[in-house]
């Protein structure tokens, strides 16, 4: 691909004490590319994407996001201005209304006026199809609605890249699709996305590349059609077996 490279990860290593979370991870992501990362729990997939916006430190290796090296001082702040993140547990601010959750970043970090921030917030609430919930508190919303608010909150910062850390894992089954639908639309709009998920249907639909991680290593990587049809490693085959039969 000749497209602009927005994320370059090379020889990334990280340990928690004696436990190696990431071992020599290399990954390059182009602008507009959608990457789905899967793997058993403890495989390092969440840690990997959390390294991309500086929520986790790494021991050695190199990460460059949109030309900013995460080794530099104060780089995490600049990277976070370009990178949105959606968490498994939503992490909405419970003491603020939905609208205030969305306007906080644009007003405090981007210096937008309340009026402009609210207009922006309503645009994105419309996009995730819950404008009518704007005045409610997150606690009054369903899990699926909360996660859509969280997505809208990230989008309000107009990120170049979106990270999703198991966005549907904490949801009741009937709410998963409403969140995935929003993510599919986002993908169709050309957003660069790194998604940690076990939703293989979603992966087939939107992923340009699939990454399978195990024990802190990237074991397999490729177009979903290729890796799903012919998984090369025994580990990936076993993993697919488990999650596909589980669903």
């Amino acid at each position: 691909m000749s497209a602009e490279r927005v994320i370059e990860i090379s020889s990334l290593n990280k340990s928690f004490g004696d436990f190696r979370v990431l071992t020599n991870v290399d990954l390059t992501v182009s602008l507009g590319e959608r990457i789905v990362i899967c793997g058993p729990s403890g495989s390092g997939k969440s840690t990997l994407i959390r390294c991309v916006n500086g929520l986790e430190q790494f021991d050695s290796g190199h990460i460059e996001v949109d030309g900013i090296s995460l080794r530099d001082k104060g780089s995490a702040e600049r990277v976070r201005a370009e990178v949105g993140m959606v968490f498994q547990q939503f992490n909405l601010f419970p003491h603020l209304t939905v609208l205030e959750n969305l306007t906080l970043g644009p007003m405090k970090a981007r210096g937008l006026s309340r009026k402009d921030a609210e207009d922006l917030a309503m645009t994105y609430l419309d996009r995730v199809r819950i404008p009518e919930q704007a005045r409610k508190r997150p606690g009054d919303l369903s899990g699926g609605q909360q996660q859509r608010v969280a997505i809208a909150r990230s989008l309000c910062m107009k990120p170049k890249i979106m990270l999703f850390d198991e966005p549907t894992s904490a949801l009741d089954p009937e709410m998963i699709s409403e969140v995935l639908d929003v993510m599919v639309e986002l993908a169709q709009d050309g957003m660069t996305m790194l998604v940690v998920t076990h939703e293989m249907g979603f992966a087939r639909k939107v992923a340009d590349r699939m990454v399978f991680m195990d024990s802190g290593e990237i074991v397999e990587i490729g177009a979903p059609s290729a890796v799903f049809e012919a998984p090369k490693s025994e580990r990936f085959r076993a993993f697919l077996d488990k999650i596909l039969h589980h669903h």
Binding site: L55, E77, M85, N91, F93, L104, A109, R153, M157
Partner: protein
């Protein structure tokens, strides 16, 4: 609380009854009998210490809450070198008894300041305030830490990912949530300050205890005067704990929302 009130009321009645019925000079309530001119002026003198005690406690508490926050925040840093001074401050201050610290601040601090070329005089009022504030700040710092650490880490992470700085994250996301858990124990800590403010009497601050001491010297009726003194603190603390309960209820109902 009503039960505590009853018990104290009962105790008071017993004491009064004992004073009235006994012969000899075991009790001499006349010294604070408001129906006589002398007793009335004595009571006025004693109660006149309320304002000083309250003023002292309020200013010391406000300072303690400020210092406590400034100590608590670096104490939660990921960087151990940032954390260290905060830990040392807390451990150090927590282990100094109030009275020696009061002496040191009142008699020693002006000397230190003078040697550093800053000649200041510390009067009893400010000496007591500084001491109470510093001594209490170690505890308020721990209250802040507990409250802030009770907020899930995901809140901070989410705030940082929408571009907020550390200060903004604290101000708009963490502290507004933590305050519900911090305020009740902080208000409770205020009771401690009110009681400890009695130590200000030894450096000459004219608050409740000092006035009682002075009256005892002239009237020679320690039992009655100190009984009233205890009652004065009791009233003060009961009012504050009433406020604390109200605060806890208010915060609690907010939490459930």
């Amino acid at each position: 609380m009503t039960r505590t009130l009853k018990i104290w009321g009962l105790l008071l009645v017993v004491l009064l009854a004992a004073g009235c019925s006994s012969s000899g000079n075991t009790w001499g309530w006349y010294v604070i009998d408001p129906t006589t001119p002398q007793g009335q002026s004595n009571v006025k003198f004693l109660i006149g210490g309320f304002w000083a005690t309250i003023q002292l406690s309020l200013i010391a508490a406000a300072l303690s809450m400020t210092i406590g926050l400034l100590v608590a925040l670096p104490g939660m840093s990921d960087n151990r070198w940032v954390r260290l001074p905060s830990r040392i401050y807390i451990e150090f201050v927590r282990s100094i008894p109030l009275l020696p610290m009061l002496f040191w601040v009142f008699y020693g601090l002006p000397v230190v300041m003078k040697s550093m070329g800053i000649p200041i005089s510390i009067d009893a009022f400010w000496g007591a305030i500084i001491t109470l504030a510093i001594s209490d700040s170690a505890f308020t710092a721990e209250i802040y830490r507990a409250g802030i650490q009770s907020i899930p880490k995901g809140q901070t992470e989410a705030a940082r990912t929408v571009g907020l700085t550390y200060g903004q994250t604290m101000r708009y996301v963490v502290l507004p949530q933590a305050i519900r858990r911090i305020l009740p124990p902080l208000a409770n800590q205020f009771i401690y300050i009110v009681k400890m403010s009695a130590f200000a009497s030894v450096i000459g601050m004219q608050e409740l205890t000092r006035r009682a001491n002075e009256l005892v010297v002239t009237e020679y009726r320690p039992l009655e005067i100190y009984s009233l003194l205890i009652l004065e603190y009791l009233v003060l603390v009961l009012i504050i704990s009433f406020f604390v309960r109200w605060l806890e209820r208010k915060m609690g109902s907010d939490e459930r929302r």
